[in-house]
Structures are given as C-alpha cells and as structure tokens.
C-alpha cells in the first residue's frame, strides 16, 4: 500500500464538479506526476488532500491513517506538506527567518518556553538556502524576491520541515529555463538522498516525463489516464485533452 492513498474523492463547488471519483496511489519514496489541462482539478485535489476544504465523498489515507477529516495544521504535522501554485511565503520577514520558523512542529508545544532558535536550525536553514541558490539573499525580505525565487524559497521551507511527503504545485513555474535542469536534479536528490516522497503537479511535459516514475492525468475533474511516462506520452486521450484545451 502507498504512503498516500486517494480513493473515489469527489469535490464540487456549487455546480462545478472539480474532482469526481479520483483515485490514486503514491508509493513511499517515489516521484509521482499529476498532469492535466488548466482547470482540470489538480490544485483542487491537492487542497482536498491537505484538508483545505472538506471533500464531498471518498477517502484519503496518509501513512495508513484516514486524514480526510483532519484540519490543515494537523495534516501538516503528520509530515505531509504542500507548496502553493501562487507562492506563499512570509513577505515581511527575511528569507532566513522564513526558514527558521519552518521547523517540525511536533515538539513545538513547548515553543513558547523554548523561545531561542537553536544554532543547528539556523545552520540547516543556511545550508538549504544554499541548496536552492538563495544563500546570498538570506537577509532580504522574502516579499522582495522574484516569483521564481519565492518558489525556490517555498521549496526550501518545505524541506526545512523534514516532511515525509511533499505535494508540489508547479515547482518549475517562473523558473528560468536554464535553471530547470538544476531544479530537476535537486528534486531527484530530495527523493533519493532525503527519502521524501513527491507528488508533483507540472505543466512542463519535458520536466514531468523526465522526473516522474508514474503519472496521473486529469481532465474535466476526472481521472483520464495513468501509467508510466512513455505510456502517457503516447496515450491518444491525453494528447487530445491537451490539444482540445488550447
């Protein structure tokens, strides 16, 4: 059984069926892709998984535990962290502070007593900023970074938390094409060296075909196809869905 098991999830907004009967399984330690045309329901599925809104049906299990009724911070504390398509960072805090506060919160009930930020947190924060190429900007306000840099910062913040699994919503959006290869290799290292499971939404076909071991494709809120990258690439329904959407 996978670390994340989504079964028959359904979500509607008024009359719009954003997700209908979506099932997917993410095995531990793997990189799985989630693709689909604009408005096909990918972000909605992420929101459902992390508890951002209640789902209308189905079940979501993380680490063999039903999480579809838990609240956002509770799910996050289980080690399931998402990044946002429109980046979300703490704009009026420095990049380093953004990192220092993004630590595992399981023991942080004592955070009020243990007010001091441990030196090893700062060291690890600086190391991760170096990893995404933002070390030189660590004392800048995060809000002053470019969109692409904010994406990288948000990614580093997610790693800082030492998650079991990451849901990344278009990690390469806004990243300079010449830096995309470096980002792909970083994502791979996150998977192999840190053992973090990745579920990645991506519009860049070259990236996702290169990165993911298995891909799910949504269209009009439904699961259209799934399979290995080669299979998906040659699936006529997937090709049609993308062509039809543009």
């Amino acid at each position: 059984m996978g670390i994340l098991e989504v079964k028959g999830v359904r979500k509607t907004f008024g009359g719009v069926i954003a997700n209908s009967d979506i099932s997917l399984s993410v095995p531990e330690g793997k990189i799985i892709g989630l693709i689909g045309p604009n408005g096909s329901g990918k972000t909605t599925l992420f929101n459902s998984i992390v508890g951002y809104h209640p789902i209308d049906g189905g079940s979501i299990r993380f680490l063999a535990r039903e999480i579809s009724r838990l609240r956002v911070p509770q799910i996050a504390r289980l080690g399931l962290i998402r990044t946002f398509q429109q980046t979300r960072i703490y704009g009026k805090m420095s990049c380093l502070q953004n990192m220092q506060i993004s630590v595992p919160q399981t023991l942080q009930r004592w955070g009020l007593v243990m007010n001091k930020i441990p030196a090893e947190d700062t060291e690890r924060a600086e190391g991760l900023l170096e990893f995404v190429g933002l070390y030189a900007k660590r004392h800048l306000f995060a809000g002053d970074l470019s969109f692409g840099q904010q994406k990288l910062l948000e990614f580093a913040m997610a790693l800082m938390i030492r998650p079991r699994m990451l849901l990344l919503d278009e990690p390469t959006a806004g990243i300079n094409p010449t830096l995309i290869n470096a980002l792909i290799s970083r994502l791979r290292r996150v998977s192999t060296e840190l053992g973090i499971t990745l579920l990645v939404i991506e519009h860049n076909m070259r990236v996702i075909m290169d990165l993911a071991e298995y891909i799910y494709c949504l269209a009009h809120g439904e699961l259209l196809a799934e399979g290995k990258p080669e299979t998906i690439q040659n699936d006529q329904r997937v090709v049609d869905a993308y062509l039809g959407a543009h």
């Binding site: 609240r71 703490y90 955070g111 009020l112 007010n115 190391g127």
Partner: protein
C-alpha cells in the same frame, strides 16, 4: 546602536535618567508616571496589532479588568496597604490573562476586519456591565485605599512602580520578539494560511500573544486605579474612547510591528498631548483630533516604519557579499 557596548551604554543612560527624573522635575512626577503608562499601552497593543497583524480595539478591557480586580483585593483582603497592593496587582494581571485566554479561544478564530469589529464591542460591553454590578460599586465606582506614606511620597512611589512595569515589559517583549514566538506571530501576520499549512499551532500562539498583552495591561490597570484613586467604570477603567484609541495611535505613530516604534510613538504622543493641554487649553481636543488625522495620513507606517522603508540597509536587509556556504548544512 550597533555594538553591544554602545547598546548597553544607551540602555544604562535611559535607566539612569528615568531613575533620576522625579528628582530633576518633581512637579511632573504624575505626568511622567503616565508616560510609562503610555509606553506600556503602546507596547502591549503592538503585540497583536503590529507584530501579529490583528488589530484589537478591545484591549482596554484588560486594563479595566486588572484595575477592578486589584481594587477588590485591596478592599476585601484585609491585608496591609502594600501587601494588598502587590497581591492585587498580581491578581489583576492574572484575571486579565484569564479573560484573554477565554475570549481569545473564541475571537481569535476571526480574521482581519472581523476580529477588529468583534473586539470593538468588548470595552463598551465591559463598561456597561461594570456600571450595573453592585459588588464592584456599579455606576458610582470604587475608591482605592489611601496611600499611607507622607505627602508627595505617593507620587514618587507610583512613578517608580510604573517605571518598573515599563522596564519589565520592554525587555520581555524584546526577548520574545527575538525568538520563535516573535517569528511565529510575524508569520501569522504575513500569511496565516501558510503558517497553518506548515503545521504551526496558530491558535496557541495567537492566544498566548493576547494573554501577554493582557498581562501587562492588567498590571498597569491595577496601578493606574491607585494612581487616580477612584475607579469610574466608563471614565477611568473601560476608557475605550481615550486610552483605548490612544494605545493604537501611539503604536502607529511610532511604527507598528517594531520594538522601538511604540516607545517612540508613546513619548512623542504624550509630550505633544501635555503641551496641547498646557498651551492650547480649550482647543486641546481639536488639536488632538488633528494630530490623529495627521498621523494616519502622513505617517501610515509610523516614524520607524518610514525610516526602515527609506534606509532598509540600516535595518539589516541586504544581499550579503560573502557567497561562501556555511559548514554543516546539508
């Protein structure tokens, strides 16, 4: 204030000046005591309003609650003047914290403007409630016990007591802001949804922040009730239209969300206001109203916020030149 030595010297001279003030200007002891009151007001309001991004219009509640709780202890405990006062102050602070904890768990679920509007009713409701409750004197108020010392000793005593509270508030907040507590409430201010998505115990921190604010306000309320000597529910305790508004203005004037901003704002505001009372008698309220408008229109970021926007490098926000990675990070 760059090197630690300079900083220590600076703090030492502020403390020395504050200690010597009643000797240097004996005629102004009460006004100077109220300067410390104003500083605690602005600092404690800024915990939520500035650092956490939750504008509270109801913090005056904690001030009034602390004032009443202390006076009741002084009236009913049967202790001598000073023990009763000290026990009363601690009780006042604790009761205020209790109110913040209970109210916080309900109201801090409200975001942005809804929270602001929700708190607006608190001070008013408390004033109405207090004027109807006979146990605490209802509409005719409460007298605090007479100060036992010699003439003039009373003013000196309360000056130093208020100074002690302010001198405790500042370093406690400085310490809190420099650590995880400060970063967490700043994160809540910048993007509470993100903080939740990162697993932060937002409710716990928000409530703790309000309780901290309530603690210092409750303590101050306890002392101010004794400084004035008479507690009226609407004009002394739950004074939303004066103190309740001033604490917000002072924090904004100096620069909300900074450590020194509220202090600077309180000093500027209090001194200006005293001058108005002295030189513009009859027009002082008009002048105060104008000052408020000027603050909001021309200094929306406050004195320090404006300086920070102008010279960000002085406040440590710059690209570091050394690109060398640190050791030990992976």
């Amino acid at each position: 204030m760059s090197t630690p030595i300079m900083r220590t010297l600076f703090y030492a001279s502020v403390v020395l000046l504050a200690l010597a003030a009643p000797l240097l200007a004996p005629a102004f002891k009460t006004q100077m005591a109220f300067l410390w009151v104003m500083i605690v007001f602005a600092l404690s309001w800024d915990i939520l309003g500035g650092q956490m991004g939750y504008n509270s219009f109801g913090n005056i509640l904690f001030f009034g609650v602390g004032m009443y709780a202390c006076a009741i202890v002084q009236r009913d405990s049967g202790l001598d003047y000073f023990p009763a006062l000290y026990v009363g102050m601690v009780t006042g602070a604790m009761v205020a914290v209790g109110f913040a904890a209970v109210l916080g768990s309900g109201m801090l679920g409200l975001r942005g403007h809804y929270f602001a509007i929700g708190t607006l009713g608190l001070g008013i409701a408390a004033g109405e409630f207090a004027s109807g409750w006979d146990y605490i004197g209802a509409g005719s108020g409460l007298l605090t016990p007479l100060f036992p010392g010699e003439i003039g000793g009373r003013e000196t005593f309360f000056y130093y007591l208020m100074f002690a509270i302010a001198a405790m508030t500042f370093p406690v907040l400085r310490w809190l802001y420099a650590g995880r507590f400060g970063l967490t409430i700043n994160a809540i201010r910048d993007d509470e949804d993100k903080a939740e998505a990162m697993g932060i115990h937002t409710t716990l921190y928000k409530t703790a922040a309000w309780c901290t604010s309530a603690f210092f306000l409750g303590l101050t309320g306890a002392v101010v009730g004794n400084m004035i000597g008479f507690i009226d529910p609407r004009d002394v305790a739950f004074t939303g239209a004066t103190y309740g508004v001033w604490m917000i203005l002072m924090a904004i004037l100096g620069g909300k969300g900074t450590l020194w901003g509220p202090v600077i704002g309180a000093v500027v505001f209090h001194v200006t206001q005293q001058l108005f009372w002295t030189y513009l008698l009859g027009w002082q309220r008009v002048a105060l109203g104008l000052l408020i408008v000027i603050i909001v229109v021309f200094f929306p970021l406050g004195i320090l916020g404006w300086a920070r926007e102008r010279w960000p490098e002085r406040f440590g926000h710059k690209v570091q030149q050394d690109l060398k990675p640190v050791q030990g990070g992976k």
